[in-house]
Symmetry: C2
Subunit: 413 residues, 2 copies
């Protein structure tokens, strides 16, 4: 019997990525397909159609995660899961998330084409709201699936317009009413997530596949600076409580404190909202995000512990409230599963290297409940969360070939 | 004959201010009645009703300015104008602008009640979009009336949602179709604008009336910082073009450069918009406003000339574009008219003091085409552009009494 990898079609995979990128396509060639949006729903409906055309069984759970099942011969055996997410950043690209879902789908098609029925079922999965740009924090679907966050808490989260996840999910559920519900969670034999690297290493060094050693830790914060609205022309500096001046001083102070010469720390303030945001009114309030990452958990925790003090020290006449939204420390994927992935790549003569993931992924939450691995493929210049994100058909297929053979092997455990 | 001032009713004025404040009333007791909004239109319709009930003739011009005329005996004599504006900041108060319109309206009612018909007509006016918070820059109606800005340019200005002034004005015009149009501009004998001080001086020193000596200059800018979107977890600091880090460095650098120990300079960054504004995406673009004021034109121009250089020096790996939106230098109102206002206040035994206006007003543009004066009344703690803005019925009436007698005197010139 030929291995499933030999049935992986680079063209079919590429076409499916391009077809999926039409949902939420932006003028600049990227994708704006935020979680639980109409575009996200349309993308999921399309994936369900593709799955049904391939004879796979679609289902959804109460957290909005979508599954396509390739059945196994032993209905009592726990399934192997593989996938990622279909939602994107507001100015996202075609590959972040979508590649992991469609690589798993292509792998399933290849396994079916190889004429084998594995012992375990293989579930292709699209986790709900990985990006966290519309509803924060991200990785909602995988966190609920893995029992890390209660469903109720996730359903109560609101977007900037005050729409709750629960409401948006109910709307999506109506459009996907033809897809049966499955119970939340359940036993999983293993999880493998394919993803673009979102860094420059594989491309620069010429490896089509990366075996991910682990995920760097990430702590996030919401900082609210409260000042007082006042007239730009009349209020004196000494009397003002200018929330924008205080907040920008905090940003600069945090950036200086977290500046490491070795350039490993990732410090990002991506969201910064001003109220009332009018040119001739002193800002009454600023809310900004902090995203802080470092592969060394001790370093990450030490920086994280400084945030509140640094903000307070720069607050001037304003008040500041620092809220920690999440504190995920660094993690390492199990060596045994990584070794199986390397062995598959070696059998396929696919050059690989170990490398850490600087970005968070749904695999973080699955890791807590099942043996988990990640496969990376190169993306051009490491550019991601950007409409210019790009990857080559041949690298995308190389990663999918390793995935296909690895999934079959795991499904036959 | 008793002077009109003795017919000014503090209660009627106060009631009219409270009634007007219902249009766009906020939960916090302030007003959100931005230019050409539904609330602004409703407020104008109400003023038209009040004017008609008093026998005054309403009209509008092509720039959206609203007039209520108390006719004079000599139809060929140019009118005296008095008023201010009905639009507010998004988190504005009940008195900024509305007081000037309703004080002029109360003065007109008092003149009528006194049983005199002046030689010249008196036009109570509400200028379109003084605040400039929805459509920038502000003082659109008065600038067009005075011929300082072409109507076409003003009609083309857009709000944050891309709605043009021309479109919003057409919608308002439909609701006010029963109000006849009058030609734009025309000869004006004099203009007097009453306003709350928007500063703490009159209240602190116990003067119910201020005779405004002039208006401090104001230069405004739009700064656009262009970086590159990137993933918060993967992109290295050395490779990033973080528009938010660059923009916050500019804000801090400008604030430091314009810090004067004497605390006269007014430097405000009230608007600051980030794109894509997502927690895990490095900011690709920031656009912020600069509002810079100083009563000394030479000092103001010197600071203004530094803006571009200071922004460029702090731009880091980003690009920056600095656009000057307006450059109004300081001005002084004519001494002869100020002297007439002082004489009226003295006759009424109303304590007054001269003081400059730190804020810009529609009077700036009228000053260029007709003898112009401004009367200030105290506002509590100088708090303004703030929902907590407040003033006392007795101070508001004191200013209106001076205004009533001054308007009659001017209308009999």
């Amino acid at each position: 019997m030929a291995a499933p990898s030999s049935f992986v079609s680079a063209q079919r995979l590429w076409d499916s990525l391009q077809a999926m990128a039409r949902f939420g396509a932006t003028a600049a060639g990227g994708v704006n397909r935020q979680a639980l949006s109409a575009e996200d729903t349309a993308a999921q409906a399309e994936l369900v159609r593709w799955g049904q055309a391939t004879g796979m069984l679609a289902s959804r759970d109460a957290a909005g995660n979508l599954f396509l099942r390739l059945p196994g011969s032993d209905a009592s055996a726990s399934p192997v899961l593989s996938g990622s997410h279909l939602d994107s950043q507001p100015t996202g690209g075609k590959f972040d998330g979508a590649y992991g879902v469609l690589a798993a789908f292509e792998a399933a098609r290849a396994i079916r084409a190889a004429g084998v029925v594995p012992r375990r079922a293989i579930d292709v999965v699209a986790w709900m709201n990985e990006e966290g740009s519309r509803f924060a924090p991200g990785m909602m679907g995988s966190a609920v699936f893995a029992g890390d966050r209660p469903l109720d808490a996730v359903l109560a989260a609101q977007d900037a317009q005050g729409v709750r996840v629960g409401e948006a999910l109910a709307v999506q559920q109506q459009s996907l009413a033809h897809v049966p519900l499955r119970p939340l969670g359940g036993a999983v034999h293993a999880f493998v997530e394919a993803h673009i690297e979102q860094g420059p290493v594989l491309e620069r060094e010429g490896y089509p596949v990366g075996i991910v050693s682990g995920i760097q830790g990430k702590h996030t914060f919401r900082v609210e600076v409260t000042g007082e609205a006042a007239h730009a022309g009349t209020s004196q500096r000494s009397e003002r409580k200018d929330a924008l001046l205080a907040a920008t001083a905090m940003v600069q102070s945090l950036a200086a404190a977290f500046h490491d010469v070795e350039d490993i720390t990732k410090f990002t303030i991506g969201r910064f909202e001003v109220l009332p945001n009018a040119p001739s009114v002193v800002a009454a309030r600023v809310v900004f995000s902090i995203d802080l990452r470092h592969p060394d958990t001790a370093r990450l925790r030490a920086m994280s512990a400084q945030v509140e003090h640094l903000c307070a020290a720069a607050r001037g006449p304003c008040a500041v409230n620092v809220q920690r939204l999440s504190a995920a420390d660094s993690l390492e994927f199990p060596e045994a599963l990584r070794q199986r992935a390397r062995a598959v790549a070696d059998r396929l003569a696919t050059p690989w290297r170990d490398l850490p993931s600087a970005a968070g992924h749904d695999a973080r939450y699955l890791h807590a409940v099942t043996p988990t691995a990640m496969l990376f493929v190169p993306c051009h210049l490491g550019l991601t969360h950007n409409e210019a994100e790009s990857a080559t058909p041949s690298d995308l297929a190389a990663g999918t070939r390793v995935l296909a053979d690895l999934l079959l092997e795991l499904a036959n455990d």
